[in-house]
Subunit: 254 residues, 2 copies
DNA sequence: CGTTTTTTTGCAATTTACGCAACGTTCTAG
DNA sequence: CTAGAACGTTGCGTAAATTGCAAAAAAACG
């Protein structure tokens, strides 16, 4: 009987603080103490005390009337460091920029993190209105073109470890939630060298994904995303051609 | 006897976590557990447990060999939200970009945070090699052109509150550490409408700062910074002229 | 292969934090 | 203008999390 292996973590305060900051992150408008405490399921006093500490740390700020909370600028410094640490970004983004100008669709850069794809950066083309994901956001490997491109770089062992550790969720009618069709698709990607996301992650969004791997090291992946109606056969062919070129150029610099 | 009013904060774990993350931030290379524990003055076991929680939260990651720690991509999401919250940035940056192209020197955008100037963003000109400050970094109000530009918007009351709450540090030979000369300088700024930093914050760096205030609300400030040797009289005159124009344009949109 | 260095685990004392309830303050309505 | 409600803040006792020690495990080194 596979009991849900409930890992124990220290720092309950930290996790609570994260919940609070994540709630502020998700809120469309800066929330009040009451709103936060209701949504993260803690008493107002607890939330207030954590918020005070967070404020002292520079992680949250409050509006002049001290009613609403929003995220602090300390994160700008952290994020800059992150961007510097992940220098894949510096190497890849210039190339991806040329790719955008060539094909006039949004290009995304992602890395693998905790069995998921984290969107490191993206360049939107002029014609884009569709929001695929926010920078810093995450998506599943099994439902995204970048994820499947990377899965195709895994050994059979790694793939089976991934699928057994993952619970599949049907995000759209097209999402592959059964292991066999996912493995079949990944097999195709291995032969082709690129992956598709045919409205599997988000309705109406079609993506072509390319991995960025060299010397058995997975640096990340990039993808081109567009609304389904613009994904004509000739366009896809063009994207594959240009994408492969860019992929080769990036790999030569990694 | 003015006893150091030691404010009590809850969430000691949070503050310790911040110390750890800040140490990682400051480190040139990703530090190991040992290095962290030595520098933040906590036992290794404590640091390890906090790091595990931080890792779980997505705030830190470790290298493949699990030895070195670095900041996680979660901060990219937070930072993006911060940038969105501070929409001054979106309004000002286009104008500051034109300013950069006109005068060919680095332009900085800052906001007031906790009696200090936080650098929100900057645009470096081609000719720049000098590093004034990193985005997300902070500088004193008394030693920076942006700070003094904002001090000039304060009432006499607010200024005296600021100086009494501040301990002045001589960062360079030119730093104004006595209250009288600072107040005198701020008085000049009030009349002129712009502030100078004549190597007061960093040797060899000269800045001209402009405040961004409207309806008694302080949105922030911007400055032009350059190496001292390029700060000729005619150049300064040009910066003042163009800076004032840009300041007016930005204010009309705030 | 033994020795040293570093990372990880378990544990019990101590410290810290949680939420209750009461208080202050601000907003709302009659 | 006053009463009442709603929200934010504070203090405190108990309950729970955290700390650092010491010891084990793992890795690095010669």
């Amino acid at each position: 009987m596979a009991e849900q292996k409930e890992e124990v973590f220290y720092g309950t305060v930290l996790i609570k603080a994260k919940e609070i900051m994540d709630f502020i992150l998700e809120s469309r408008v800066s929330p009040t103490l009451k709103e936060i405490s209701e949504n993260v399921d803690m008493t107002k006093s607890t939330v207030l005390k954590i918020l005070k500490t967070l404020e002292h740390c520079g992680y949250v700020r409050r509006t002049e009337d001290a009613k609403q909370y929003y995220l602090g600028t300390m994160f700008l410094a952290y994020a800059q460091k992150v961007n510097h640490t992940f220098d894949i970004r510096q190497i890849t983004m210039p190339h991806l920029a040329t790719l955008v100008s060539e094909i006039e669709e949004t290009v995304n850069l992602g890395i693998v993190e905790n069995q998921q794809i984290t969107l490191l950066d993206k360049i939107e083309s002029n014609s884009t209105v569709y929001l695929v994901a926010r920078v810093g956001g995450q998506m599943h490997m099994y439902s995204s073109s970048m994820g499947k491109a990377i899965l195709a770089e895994y050994s059979d062992d790694e793939i089976s470890r991934y699928v057994s550790a993952t619970s599949f969720e049907k995000l759209t009618p097209n999402t592959m939630t059964d292991i066999s069709s996912l493995i079949e698709d990944v097999g195709k990607v291995k032969k082709r060298g690129y992956a598709f996301d045919n409205e599997e992650n988000q309705p109406d969004i079609f993506c072509v994904g390319f991995s960025l791997c060299k010397n058995n090291h997975i640096y990340g992946a990039f993808s081109v995303s567009m609304p389904k109606y613009r994904a004509s056969e000739e366009k896809i062919a063009n994207i594959i051609e240009e994408g492969k070129k860019i992929q080769a150029k990036i790999l030569s610099e990694l």
